[in-house]
């Protein structure tokens, strides 16, 4: 597809990278520019003696660069992509030089490997011993997690015994200590749920309601885990995820439920976690409206996966993680990025969208953020509170003012379709279809 500047900018891992990339989007800095089919390349003068060799594949997109930056895409790749999108006339068709051809061949090789049957793992010397070792390790972890669950249950009981009223005055360690204990107990999911409680007492009026909602969710996880053997398999998988057991991407790709279709990339949100950034990319299947969420974690300075760009679509096959409410998925196979040319599937009213949320919650009572797409709503402000009003007059509260103002601006006072994350209380808008085009809504504070 013809990439637009906006879509290229959306690839930048952070605003600083976008700025740095723009500075590189200057033809003067480049030599040996060329392109062929979906590939483009060039050599960029940098601080090193040798120019950096940068190439990109716009189909997926993917990037390669000889610079030492760990950002993906790096500023050179971003700059090259920006020149391609903004001044395509300055890059002429050419035969790829050898280093580009090598890079493309390597990518093709990798794609062939991942699409084909997984190469059989090297057979262990003693299969029986290896299996026993694995089972022993699994038993050891289960023992630790079970002990951790009991410990956290005691902590929760203490919390309720002493009362929530004085929590706003507690030091940070009050929350980080039990979280660290859960990390030790190899239950990172529980660790996150406990750690995130710390901010709630400082989150404004009605914080006790929000805190108790989370405490209740945590209690439900602990109670459920104590008798996880008695639960049906899908719920067992869901709960294991909540506690922190995760399947590997490879296992999901190999065994997860596969869904092929035209997947629309509608929004992306990034959350800071302890030492990590978590990027959620939301997709909807065009024909069925089925949602999917691709989760990517990266350490603070490491790149997040840039290949799913909000406002694009692709023909792809996704594999879903096992769950009571299958939502998280990995992209197994995909075609090139397409422009998002049509309205996305959405519920006709706020009530219908909320019924969908209730059904999702019934399947997965630990659901924290649900995708929500609703058609024909008007952004409106009443007493400084922003909401989306549907044709029946129902109001869906918006999580922040910035989103409200941007939605109002793109709506021009006419109903629009909105996609966002619903946390049970408010919607964080991530994308909108207004007039005849899709707009990405930045999830600002």
């Amino acid at each position: 597809m013809q990439w637009t500047i906006d879509q290229v900018v959306a690839l930048a891992p952070d605003p600083a990278a976008a700025r740095a990339g723009r500075d590189q989007a200057d033809v003067r800095r480049w030599s040996a520019l060329g392109r062929a089919e979906a590939a483009a390349w060039g050599e960029c003068r940098g601080s090193a003696a040798q120019p950096y060799r940068t190439c990109l594949d716009t189909a997926e997109p993917a990037f390669g660069c000889s610079c030492p930056s760990r950002k993906l895409p790096c500023k050179h790749a971003l700059g090259l992509f920006l020149i391609l999108a903004g001044q395509p006339g300055t890059i002429a068709e050419a035969a790829p030089p050898h280093w580009v051809a090598e890079w493309l061949a390597k990518r093709a090789e990798r794609a062939r490997k991942s699409a084909g049957p997984a190469a059989p793992a090297p057979a262990p010397a003693d299969p029986a011993a290896a299996a026993e070792e694995q089972a022993r390790r699994a038993r050891r972890r289960q023992g630790r997690v079970a002990a951790g669950v009991e410990e956290l249950a005691l902590w929760l009981a203490d919390l309720v015994r002493n009362g929530l009223a004085d929590l706003p005055g507690r030091p940070r360690q009050f929350w980080s200590q039990p979280a660290a204990r859960m990390v030790d107990a190899q239950a990172p999911g529980l660790a996150r749920l406990v750690g995130e409680l710390a901010e709630v007492p400082h989150s404004g009026p009605a914080w006790p309601d929000r805190l108790l909602t989370r405490v209740g969710r945590l209690h439900l996880a602990l109670e459920g885990y104590r008798r996880i053997e008695t639960l049906p398999a899908p719920l067992r998988a869901e709960l294991a995820t909540v506690v922190g057991f995760t399947e590997s991407r490879e296992a999901v790709s190999a065994r997860g439920e596969r869904v092929a279709g035209r997947w629309l990339v509608l929004g992306r949100s990034i959350r800071q976690e302890e030492r990590l950034r978590a990027q959620r990319t939301w997709l909807l299947e065009a024909a069925t409206g089925r949602p999917a969420m691709v989760l990517d974690h990266a350490a603070q300075q490491q790149p997040l996966d840039p290949s799913l760009v909000p406002g694009t679509a692709m023909d792809a096959e996704l594999a879903f993680y096992p769950a009571a409410l299958p939502l998280r998925a990995v992209v197994v196979e995909r075609g090139e990025a397409l422009a998002l040319a049509d309205r996305f599937p959405a519920e006709p009213t706020a009530a219908a969208a909320l019924r969908g949320y209730a059904a999702a919650l019934a399947a997965n009572p630990w659901l924290e953020l649900a995708p929500l797409a609703v058609r024909g709503v008007l952004p409106c402000r009443e007493d400084a509170a922003w909401s989306l009003a549907d044709a029946e007059g129902a109001r869906l509260p918006l999580a922040n003012e910035t989103g409200g103002l941007v939605l109002l601006a793109v709506s021009g006072g006419r109903p629009i379709d909105v996609f966002g994350e619903w946390d049970g209380l408010a919607l964080t808008p991530l994308g909108a279809w207004a007039d005849v085009a899709f707009s990405t809504i930045e999830a600002g504070p």
Partner: protein, 475 residues
Amino acid sequence: MTWEATVRAALAGTARQPPAGESDPERAVLAAAAALAVRRLAGWTPPRGPVPAAEACPPEELRAVSPAAAWRLEALLDGDRPELLPEWLELAAAGRQVVPPRLLPRLLVHAERHAPLRGAVLDVIGRRGRWLAGQVSAWAFAALGDLDQAFETGTRPARAAALRELRRQDPAAALRRLAEGWPAESGEDRAALIGCLQVGLGPGDEAFLEAAGADARKEVRQTALTLLARLPDSRLVGRMRARAAAMVGYRRGLLGGKLHVAPPRRCDPELVAGGVEPKPAPGVGERAWWLSQVLGMAPPGAWPVEAIEAAAATDWTATLLRGWAAGAARFQDARWAEALALFWSRTPEKARSELAFSPELLLSALDPPDRDAVLLRVLARSPADGAHLAARCDHRWGADVTRAVLQALPRLARPHADLAAAAARQVGLRGDPSLRAEADALAARTPDAPALDRAFAAAADTLHWRATMAEELAP
């Protein structure tokens, strides 16, 4: 247990208020919280209200800027080279292009915080932006949906903005609107509104301004007289020209001309009515103070520019120069401005502080083409003086001035490194981007002082940046 009761019990703590009849009170509260929290989330029904009857925005008439230009605007608003935002706005307006809707809130927030940009912002937000501004009270400055209504019932800043816009459309009709309600306006409103007449100022405003020159409120009087003094054919200027001619006479002679100077002996009622401030500034004699003000309200074209040299031979040098400089600025007299700037340049640096006028202020009053002409003359006389003035001129330079400054820079580098760096910076910000190749050549020349090399490279970068910006916004 209800949710509310559960929250109350949890807040108080079961140690203090154990729920009745529970053997494990903590577990009972937690279990209730778990079940009720999910039920509460799942069963939440949205509040309802009337379907909002917001008036939809009429369709946009102008086209949106290109995606590349929109992205550059985002970078500018993010704080990347914010000093170039005014140029972006100007180029977009010149090409009759508007900002895409999703960026309007950010641009309006920026304009809310940077009042001087508001006029330029108004030109690029289109119908959608004005419509949006009408929904947010902090953006009233941009909500000029119905100008008449905004002028009648708006807040004071909104009324002033509406009046300026009405003046742009039809100065005479706008003046009639203002005059109709004038006697009933409060003093503060009169002070806020009269300055709007500078938009589309013309001879038709004279009678109104003369009346306002006798207003009960001092700010109104001052603004009215300042505006009147800008009308070269107004009765006020005619009176001042006559008074000035009587005070300063020039006679040609064989060895240059001679000035006869007769400053006023008292600040008579006619002078006061004309806007002369009777009380002198500290350290200035009364008669000199009055004389320079009268000269400043008369077009300097009444005297030949040779009078500047002759002024040096009088006892009133500083007074005369200050007055003529003010007059040249007020009446935008390019010939006088040029003569004064060259006189300043010929004056040895140590003696310049005694000239009592600033050539920068003088230049800033001229139209850009006239400014360029004066700058070129000064650059030709003294590259250092020319660069000094150019570095303080924040209009966009023409190609000739840009080239002349670029040529002057290498020669300045050694003796005046600071000046060269400042001028280089201004080349980047104000120079003509079509000369970026010349700037590249300057940046690539043999290295000099590192700080200076950086300044030259930055100037070349900025010129390229601006060239790309202009391409992206090309109509």
